[in-house]
Structure formats: structure tokens, C-alpha cells
């Protein structure tokens, strides 16, 4: 069961990364952010974080304990991933909710949104790589 949820979590990460990149390239082009793209981005973030939250307790008790002795660097980098994703979630919610309103954005807020989306893409890409490393290590 958990293995399936983790697999779905990985798939949701790939989807969220794709929708974040889409959003990143759409934001500078349109004065009014496209609502469909923003909605797609928010909807891919929801299963990603819900599945992560759901499977984390089992990761701590079943996997992390072994990792701390067999591959402590991987346990540490996985924790770094968790903190980065938490920061990216708050920035992502702000950009997503702002873009959903179909309001004409000032140039300055458009630039802030694009910069934060760039950061979110970096975090999602980093987290996807770390997740794949962990999955390979544990032969999920």
C-alpha cells in the first residue's frame, strides 16, 4: 500500500514540475495570468503534498532508521528536501492564488511571481532527484 502511495507521490512530483515549468513560461507573456495554468499548478501540488504528508510517518519509522546507519548522507539530504518543499509550498500557494484571480498584475508582481516560480522549479527538480535516489537505494 505505502509503496503504491510513494509511487503516486513520485508521479505527482513529475506532474507538479511540468506544470510549474508551464507556469514559469506563461507568466511573463500574459498581463493577466492564465487561470487554467494556475489551476493546473495548484491541483498538481495538492496530491503531491497530501501523499507526502501521508507517507512521511512510515518513512520515519521504517526507512529513515536504517538510513541513519547505512547511508546517513541520504537521510540528511532527504530531510533537507522536506524543508525546501515546505518553503516552496507557501511561495507556490501565493503565486497560484494570485494568478487564479484573473487580475491585471503590475510588472513588479509579475517579476516577483516569475522569480518565485523559478525557485519552486529548482526545489521540485531537486526533490525529484532526491526521491529517485532514495527509491533506488531502498529498491522500492
Amino acid at each position: 500500500m505505502t509503496r503504491t502511495l510513494v509511487l503516486l507521490h513520485g508521479m505527482a512530483a513529475a506532474l507538479a514540475l511540468a506544470s510549474a515549468i508551464h507556469m514559469y513560461f506563461m507568466l511573463p507573456k500574459r498581463r493577466i495570468p492564465p487561470r487554467g495554468v494556475a489551476l493546473g499548478f495548484l491541483l498538481t501540488m495538492v496530491p503531491l503534498y497530501v501523499l507526502g504528508w501521508w507517507t512521511y510517518p512510515e518513512f520515519r519509522t521504517e526507512i529513515r532508521f536504517d538510513l541513519l546507519t547505512s547511508a546517513p548522507w541520504l537521510a540528511n539530504i532527504f530531510d533537507v528536501k522536506e524543508f525546501l518543499s515546505w518553503g516552496a509550498l507557501m511561495a507556490g500557494l501565493a503565486v497560484g492564488v494570485l494568478s487564479m484571480q484573473r487580475k491585471r498584475l503590475d510588472e513588479v508582481w509579475r517579476r516577483v511571481s516569475v522569480s518565485l516560480m523559478g525557485f519552486i522549479i529548482f526545489v521540485l527538480a531537486f526533490n525529484t532527484v532526491v526521491g529517485i535516489l532514495l527509491a533506488n537505494h531502498k529498491m522500492l
Partner: protein, 119 residues
């Protein structure tokens, strides 16, 4: 019959309207994200300065400090979102604080966890 524009307003109404409409403004949304990530950094720093029991002990319990950490910063972000009207002007004047504040504090929290894995 009075139209919407002619309807008499009490002195309290403009402030209330500003508070309500400001909730979905870019200033307030980005300010909430900034406060959430800054508080996340501070909570982690507090954990580094006051380490709890060894990791093996923490792992054996059902309590997950990481979830508590996230909830504290989430509550802080909600408070900043609802009550941060007085910072709207500051955020409007210094949007670079938002971008760099969120990026630096989030990465700094991750770096802290790498060097001081206290969860």
C-alpha cells in the same frame, strides 16, 4: 432608494473593506509566504540551539517534530495573511525583500538541517 454609491457609510467601513479586499492582494499573499518561511527558519534554529532527545529516541515515538515545525510556520503565515495590513506599504516598496527573503530563508533552513539534523 439609495444606490450602492450613495449608500451612507460609517467611519469604520473603509478600514474593514481594506482589510477584506487586501486578503487576496499580492502584498498580503507574498507577505504571508515570507513570514511562513522566516518562521520556519527561526523554529529550526531554535531546535538547533536547544536540541531535544537523541534521534533514536525521537524515532521510537509517534510524535513527529517536523510536522509540529510545519504547523507553527503555517499558523504564523495565516496570522500574517489575515493581520498583515500594516505591512502592505512596506512590501509594495520593497518587493525584492519578498523574493530574497523566501529563497534565502528556505535554503538556509535546508542547510541548517544538513549540518544540524535535529529531527
Amino acid at each position: 432608494m439609495a444606490t450602492v454609491a450613495e449608500r451612507p457609510t460609517s467611519p469604520q467601513q473603509p478600514a474593514r473593506r481594506k482589510w477584506m479586499t487586501g486578503l487576496l492582494s499580492p502584498e498580503r499573499l507574498f507577505f504571508a509566504a515570507l513570514v511562513g518561511s522566516l518562521v520556519s527558519f527561526v523554529v529550526h534554529l531554535q531546535g538547533v540551539l536547544n536540541p531535544g532527545p537523541p534521534q533514536s529516541t525521537v524515532l521510537a515515538t509517534k510524535t513527529i517534530p517536523f510536522f509540529n515545525h510545519m504547523l507553527v510556520s503555517f499558523y504564523a503565515a495565516v496570522l500574517a495573511w489575515v493581520g498583515g495590513a500594516r505591512f502592505d506599504d512596506f512590501v509594495r516598496k520593497h518587493p525584492q525583500v519578498i523574493v530574497w527573503g523566501i529563497i534565502v530563508s528556505t535554503i538556509a533552513t535546508g542547510v541548517q538541517q544538513w549540518f544540524f539534523p535535529n529531527y
